[in-house]
Amino acid sequence: MDRRSFIKLTAVSGTSAALASCGNPENEIIRFVPDEDIMPGIATMKPGVCTLCASGCGLSVRMMMADADVVRNGQAGLVRIHAAKKLEGTAEHPVNHGGLCARGQAAVQVTYHPDRITQPLKRSGDRGQAKYDAISWDDAIAELVSRLDALAMAGNQKSLAFLTRHRRSHRAALVDRFLAAYGAPGAVAYELFHDDVLRRANALSFGREQLPTFDLPNARYVLSFGADFLGTWNSPTSQGHGYGLMRQGRPGIRGLFVQVESRMTQTGANADQWVPVKPGTEGVLALGLAHVIVAGKLRPASGGGRAGALIDGWSSGLGSFAPEQVETITGVAAARVERLARELAELSPSVAIVGGAPLAQSNGLFTALAVNALNSLLGSVERPGGVFFTPQINLASTAKGLSGKATASLPLDKIAAGILDGSSVPQVLLLDGANPVHAAPKGWRVREALEKVPYIVSFGQFLDETAALSDLILPDHSFLETWAEALPESGSLSAVASVAPAAMMPLHQTRGTEDLLLDVGRRLAKPLNLPWENFEALLTESVSALPTTSTFDTWTEAQEKGGWWGTLPAALTTPAAPAAQIRPFAYLEPQFDGDAGQFPLHFLPYASSAFLDGSLAHLPWLQEMPDPLTSAMWSSWIEINPTTAAKLGIRDGDIVEVASSQGTLRTAVIVSPGIAPDLVAMPAGQGHQTFTRYASGRGENPVELLAPVTEAETGSLAWAATRVRVTRVGDPDGRLILFAGGSREEEGHR
């Protein structure tokens, strides 16, 4: 019998708890005195910040009374708490403007997740067995402190490593400061769907090492190269808001939108024109467009400016990117290149966007630079309807204590290699949110490397694959139980610092990692110079330094609004970097792993609309949310073009084996017309082993197929540069769960 009917059975036969709120006789329930006075039945809205992705959307959290089961001094009972019921977007927040994406809506389940780690844990079994014993906070902290002291004693501070995700926030700054003060290298940020390439490109082209912000509401023509900017990339909620206004926000004007990609993303589905292109050649197309524009005297080549100068042959009119050549390289008809170019130039303000797969090729940086150059040529940089860079608050100047960065650290693959060849093994590894065991290519052998690390401490709230290797778990609060804050690097035209106090009291015996670090810093034998009582003090100092926009002082106002936003004085802004003198970049053929004969198909993993890279696979709402394009729930699959499928004798729902040079996996097939014949795509996110009851043992993880190909210039993972072979191994076996029956409207009209 399945779980729910079993539950019904137990419930009916009286073994489950009585329903506290429904007037049933509550037999001898113990209640504890609530920690706060709560008006029952009345909802209050509190500010919050969503920290599930880097966008830093502002929340207003709907709080109401609820009866929580708790254990107090060994006795189980109920206590009234002020519980978050629903997350809404803050209407006036400059990033999300009142909207909130599906993931943000589900974020509330993070706090109430049944498999959250409720207290500090100490490993009892072997590594990876995920067997843990409860341990008191004092003992836990003492243990960590002793470890760090031991390192410092040995003068081995360098061998403390901190593994995290890419975020811009006071928290990240504090972590970096902590490491610097201790003398360790800076935090290592690892994410599967990283944007390192684009940041690097923007640094080169515009002196801004950050993700761009697009003024979609004023754009009349948007050309996107593979960026799923309405679904999963950059700041989706902000861009979604802009998209709505671009389409129908201006009387009489409807912005047009062209998407260039080889597998239709949720974003591409909304495009007026969808332009398939050979993987890794998007840059060529961009320059082809530039060529036509320049040749057609629609814009002066000089418009390329600094960004143009980085492109080899720009000044000479990009002779090698005439539409005909572009057609041969990219597979986009010359006539179409001409037309797109003219539309771009004439329907201004127009803007080009690049992100996602095109930058995850061996020549990703070139592609990004090419698109940047195109934007400059169009004159859409820092112009209405174009691309902007959200002014970044310079924390060193808002909070003096934060100045002095830690020395840059090696990227994850280098570290893993170092550990494996024994050249440099971190003695203590602190884990904060990153899950490379699940999200890094097999070739890097991250698991084997981490198993060699003598001592691993995790601050995560869940026992994911990487956390399962840790010796000590110091669970963090959820973002509703503590200071939630973010410094969005994009998504808003004005500078933003999203900050919100804890909406509710902690549900479990968890502790805020920020305060924990400060505490540890104090407790060390040689205390670190971190001049803050607690994280709140740091925030207060930093935010108070910002100019106030009302009669209140900045800090009070920020806490009420859920953040600070407005015009940032130059003194507090991170300055743009000066142009670097480097040789221009030329187009290089994209390199793919696996030879075309043995592995005929390109393999494209993509960020799942529900789980992104998999960090959200533990939320049941997202598991059961039908995927926008396939309507799949609770499953993973590969998408394949009908003609290719026919060639391979594959039918919808069949089970196939996907093999790359790195390994194989078996999953179900969805035959989809929205993908190029030489490509198969698979959503990331599933295939967890130890990631809560909802995600464990569900679906397959495409990362297992990825070859450790890196982007030539930046050395970051080129996750779209693997080739695979697909073979049918079986009939549909029900592992693929679809919500929809039909996928074409004509089906109803035969």
């Binding site: 729910r4 009917s5 019904k8 009916v12 929809a740 029956g741 409207e745 109803g748 035969r750």
Partner: protein, 454 residues
């Protein structure tokens, strides 16, 4: 009427009362087996209530399946008796006499079984009484616009009518049994015989009552299945919204009813050794009737299909092709074979119009008609207007068991009935032998009865 010389009245009594008076262990065995299956179904239903409706195969968007199919099917079967015997009574077809009762019995039991399904298929069966219009402090009544409420009334009316129609002609026979039996049984039958003395007055009352019932029951029967058809034709579902459904369903009902009756008769004839009373001629006549209905049914199906095809309404065509040549085609063509081809061939050729022939044809029809109901309900629901919400229904054990057990239930009730009531109307049979020239019955009846008592 019949070719074979009819048996003496004493013979009739011994033959027809044998099953009542003598009981072999076989009877118990059969009852136990059938009863067991019924209990199994009951258990299945309980577990469905207990674990939740989800253990059935019902799903979004196919919210009706085996249960409603069985409902329509059994209500259809119920048209066997009452309608047939009523019509035959009205036209005073003499050969009907041995047939009528076992037909009417089918009606009553089939109705009882059919009427259970609207309750079985409820999400919350314990609230079924809300269909009953009773005054409550809530001041809420059933929604009289809902075909389901019409069903409720139609079926109740029909059931009451059929029970009366069955009971009235049994009274004289109960009297016979009363006089033949002793002890407890005698007392029971005394009650059942409601003081029947066989006085002319009583005979006259009985006759006129029968005449009235016979006339009254026909429109009721017709209305019942028309209303059942409204359950579908009132909902905006492709292939449901058809004006033809009323007659279509009634025709199908009578069709399946005759088939059911034929099978029942054949079994009775074999088991109770009624060869002397159920002559091939009865089967042949009913077989002819079956043939007629098969043709009529064929006409309706052709009509329904053609109109849909010609109308060419997109959403309807989707369902049309689904049944015609896609996923449901095998079932569809099985139905056509069982309901049309088979009866046409067997009943059409005189040589085949034997008892066995009839039984084979009838089995085909039973299967076919069950499939017909299924094919009306499921393909349409799984294939409504928005392709995104298409769905495929797979019946689960609980539904299969319950649907299957209804046949056991039917058999069980029949066996028990045969145990307590002569399955062939004794007095009618006797009356049948001596058709007085003027054809005024009471005389004949009186005589016959005197002989019975003498």
């Amino acid at each position: 009427m019949s070719a074979v010389p009819s048996p003496s009245h004493g013979q009739i009594n011994t033959d027809l009362l044998r099953p009542l008076l003598k009981t072999s262990w076989k009877f118990f065995a059969v009852v136990v087996v059938l009863g067991g299956i019924v209990v199994a179904a009951l258990l299945a239903w309980l577990s469905q209530m207990f674990f939740g409706f989800g253990i059935s195969g019902i799903r979004w968007p196919v919210y009706w399946g085996f249960y409603v199919t069985s409902f329509v099917f059994w209500i259809g079967i119920s048209h066997a008796g009452t309608l047939i015997s009523a019509i035959l009574r009205l036209v005073d077809a003499g050969w009907r006499r041995p047939v009528t009762r076992c037909a009417e019995v089918i009606t009553v039991f089939a109705l009882m079984i059919g009427a259970m399904f609207p309750i079985i298929h409820l999400g919350r069966p314990w609230l079924a009484f809300w269909l009953f219009p009773y005054p409550s402090e809530r001041l809420i009544w059933p929604n009289f616009r809902s075909p389901l409420v019409w069903d409720f009334f139609a079926i109740n009316t029909y059931l009451t009518g059929s029970v009366l129609f069955l009971f009235l002609p049994m009274i004289p026979d109960f009297a016979v049994v009363r006089d033949k039996s002793t002890g407890l049984r005698r007392r029971i039958y005394t009650l059942l015989a409601v003081g029947w003395r066989g006085t002319p007055k009583q005979w006259h009352r009985l006759e006129s009552a029968m005449a009235i019932m016979a006339i009254a029951i026909v429109p009721v029967a017709v209305s019942v299945h028309t209303i059942v058809s409204f359950d579908f034709s009132m909902a905006p579902v492709p292939m449901w919204q058809s004006t033809i459904f009323g007659p279509y369903f009634v025709a199908g009902a009578i069709f399946s009813g005759i088939a059911g009756l034929l099978i029942a008769m054949a079994i009775l004839r074999r088991v109770l050794h009624l060869e002397r009373y159920l002559h091939p001629i009865h089967f042949e006549n009913l077989g002819k009737l079956l043939l007629v209905m098969a043709l009529l049914w064929g006409y309706f199906v052709f009509n329904e299909r053609l109109v849909t095809y010609y109308g060419n309404e997109p959403s309807e065509m989707a369902v049309f092709w689904r049944t015609q040549r896609e996923s449901f085609a095998p079932l569809y063509w099985t139905m056509v074979f069982g309901n049309f081809v088979l009866p046409l061939v067997i009943m059409g050729i005189k040589r085949f119009r034997t008892i066995t022939g009839c039984v084979i044809a009838s089995l085909g029809v039973i299967v076919g008609m069950w499939l017909e109901r299924f094919l009306i309900i499921v393909p349409s629901l799984g294939h409504k207007y928005l392709p995104y919400s298409y769905g495929i229904y797979r019946p689960q054990p609980v539904e299969i068991i319950i649907a299957g057990a209804t046949f056991a239930a039917m058999a069980l009730l029949y066996v028990l009935f045969v145990k307590i009531v002569p399955i062939i109307s004794i007095w009618e049979l006797k009356a049948g032998d001596h058709q007085p020239p003027d054809g005024s019955h009471p005389v004949a009846e009186k005589r016959s009865l005197r002989e019975v008592e003498g």
